[in-house]
């Protein structure tokens, strides 16, 4: 019985170990994203977005410049992993504590081992 409990505990720890870094990485990713919007120069577009997304946007400069000045908002992140692809997830952001519904989700994918924003997809 102790062996069975140990095996179960090991499996549970493995699952949590896989899930926990993903949440931390998402928070870090979107903190960098907010820095890009704020115009901070020490964050590069390729630190946040996939190469495909940067190329389609017209290059790094087009993504790091020209953002409208907005009030700094603290967001609640809702993270939804893909059911079929462990390197794909969806993030919805709403102002912290609000009951607003997000109209679209960020698509995040793993590119060379790092989570990056691939774009967004409209929600129904």
């Amino acid at each position: 019985m102790y062996i069975q409990l140990s095996i179960l505990a090991g499996l549970l720890c493995t699952t949590l170990a896989w899930a926990q870094p993903q949440q931390t990485e998402m928070k870090e990713l979107f903190a960098k994203y907010d820095q890009i919007i704020e115009g901070k120069k020490d964050v590069k577009a390729l630190d946040v977005f996939t190469k495909k997304f940067v190329d389609e946007a017209g290059g790094e400069k087009s993504l790091t410049e020209g953002w409208d000045k907005t009030k700094k908002v603290v967001y609640d992140l809702s993270i939804k992993p893909s059911r079929s692809n462990k390197d794909l997830a969806y993030i919805q952001r709403v102002p912290a504590g609000s009951k607003q519904k997000a109209h679209s989700s960020f698509i995040v994918v793993k590119e060379q081992g790092q989570w990056r924003i691939e774009g967004t997809i409209e929600d129904e």
Binding site: Y33, I37, F49, K52, F53, E56, A57, S62, L63, G66, W67, D68, T70, K80, S82, R83, S84, N85, L88, Y90, R93, A102, H103, S104, I107, I117, E118, G119, T120, I121, E122, E124
Partner: protein
């Protein structure tokens, strides 16, 4: 003389019945014999465009609704908000991740996608792919979106068999949510066409949108393709006479500046004999 005339009529009847084109509608030989004034075969119009039918994965545990296609009277335009290089398979994968494990989506929520070069872009010509089959209700306008519909649509929708829903593993039963306060559920009487791309303005929640002073419209070739698709669908489903867009049904930026090009899409359809409200 009379015998010669009879023989002549019979010979004509046999000739009329010969099928020498794939799309011809002809009168059966036996009928032609009794109708010396049979009209020559009239070829049916060639399809306006090619609609590709890729194999798309489905979630066999998902619920879906099979509908009487006559209830469909409205085309709804969307943009996917994804990069324009996304494929219909990419969108299908993204939509399969919608919902929950207990209540997943069947497959892509749109019925047709048009891969869509941006105006001024250099990608290949637009291509139309079928997504969700026309006889299945889509997932695109909003689960809680209800709108007024015409009397005939309401009559058809009220009939038993108009909308049968369930899962593949069980029986389909008539949907109980077809109407709400006299309004019709939008996903039920509409067909969704999605332009693959991002035509909304850039915001913090839509970083792939167009920047201020550089609005992004669909290319002329995409508008042409959208108009032809709309007309082709009307030819197949004559009750399809209205064109709307996603933000008509829901508070959303979708379909961005595609909405501004709806009049041009209707104009293209009109060139091929199709009229839309």
């Amino acid at each position: 003389m009379k015998k010669a005339l009879i023989l002549l009529i019979m010979a004509q009847a046999l000739t009329v019945s010969a099928k020498d084109c794939a799309h011809c509608v002809t009168t059966p030989t036996w009928l032609s014999i009794f109708n010396p004034f049979s009209l020559p075969a009239v070829p049916a119009p060639e399809p306006l465009i090619e609609i590709r039918t890729p194999t798309l994965a489905r979630d066999s545990g998902a619920s879906y609704c099979r509908r009487n296609t006559e209830v469909v009277d409205t085309i709804v335009f969307h943009h996917t908000q994804t990069p324009s290089t996304s494929t219909v398979q990419n969108i299908n994968t993204l939509h399969l991740d919608r919902g929950s494990a207990a209540d997943p989506w069947l497959m892509i929520g749109y019925h047709y996608t048009i891969n869509s070069p941006y105006a001024g872009g250099t990608v290949p010509s637009p291509v139309v792919n079928q997504g969700r089959p026309f006889n299945l209700a889509g997932s695109h306008a909003g689960t809680n979106a209800y709108k007024p519909a015409g009397a005939e649509t309401r009559r058809l929708m009220a009939l038993d068999g108009a909308m049968r829903c369930g899962r593949a593993t069980g029986p389909l039963t008539e949907a109980s949510d077809k109407f709400r306060d006299g309004l019709v559920k939008a996903n039920y009487n509409t067909v969704a066409i999605a332009l693959i791309g991002n035509y909304a303005k850039r915001t913090t929640e839509n970083p792939g949108g167009w920047r201020a002073n550089s609005p992004r419209y669909p290319s002329a070739s995409t508008i042409e393709m959208a108009g032809k698709l709309a007309c082709e669908l009307q030819r197949q489903h004559p009750r399809l006479t209205t064109i709307k867009w996603h933000s008509f049904y829901n508070a959303t930026d979708c379909p961005g500046l595609v909405k501004d090009r709806i009049p041009q899409i209707k104009a293209v359809a009109a060139r091929f004999g199709c009229t839309f409200n």
